[in-house]
Subunit: 173 residues, 2 copies
Amino acid sequence: MRVLGIDPGSRVAGFGVIDVAGQNRHYVASGCIKTPTNGTLPERVKALLDGVAQVVATYQPDIAAVEIVFVNVNPQSTLLLGQARGALIAGLVTANLPIAEYTALQVKQAVVGNGHADKDQVGHMVQRLLRLSGMPQADAADALAVALTHAQHQGGVARQLGSGLTIRRGRLG
Amino acid sequence: MRVLGIDPGSRVAGFGVIDVAGQNRHYVASGCIKTPTNGTLPERVKALLDGVAQVVATYQPDIAAVEIVFVNVNPQSTLLLGQARGALIAGLVTANLPIAEYTALQVKQAVVGNGHADKDQVGHMVQRLLRLSGMPQADAADALAVALTHAQHQGGVARQLGSGLTIRRGRLG
């Protein structure tokens, strides 16, 4: 299973692609989708849509995992972040990808094992779990962390379904 | 010129289509794009994208005008509204429509002549300017008001360009 993780941002969106096979996770690619600094909202939306389309076409993921953002700095930046997130999800929907969503708390718990971990700890664990020689840039590291979170949850779900099916076999068969 | 006005909302987006010919404005259509009440964000984004695509395909507008929203009720509703607005603009960008944006103040000034007008006054003036026999529903009325605002601003720009060309004719000819 190939997972595309997305870390939404109003100016820059991080992306990270990993392959998941059982308990193994392999790094495929990561990077950023940048929007024009002084662009209008439609121009920035277009940059995000085009960026998502290009990443999906290049890496052909099976599913996308997107971080559920929540900022409270000020209403205007919250609105900008929401607009960017809506555009990114529109790009993923247009590409017909299934989409899973995870909170920052879920990401930190999955990757570091501590919901109160800081960004450095998340980056460090991403580097370690994917055996990377260097630290990816911050947005890309966060996106890879979201992808790793989906891999872990998916594994959990698959195992649950597996044992559920085993238990129910007598009744289902 | 056919203008599609959009009033973004996190649950329901209003749309209104008008034809503009000189100082004449003709009502074409209006309505709402509804999102599934208990839908996930990707499901709601898909409903907004599909709705915009259907409206554009049906009415073939030349340009879209979208209200610049700003709510401060709470950060969570601001984020939801931003996401919906990003998805709607993504739909318009995907349809290759040029997009103009207007603040609520600009809409009220253009339609009522008073930036502090209330919703009822806006609805009343929309009904009057478009010679409608009945009052459109609130979301649709707001969307028609945004379309009317674009018609007025566009008229202003066209007149300015026109007089500019007249003045420059000697040099350009």
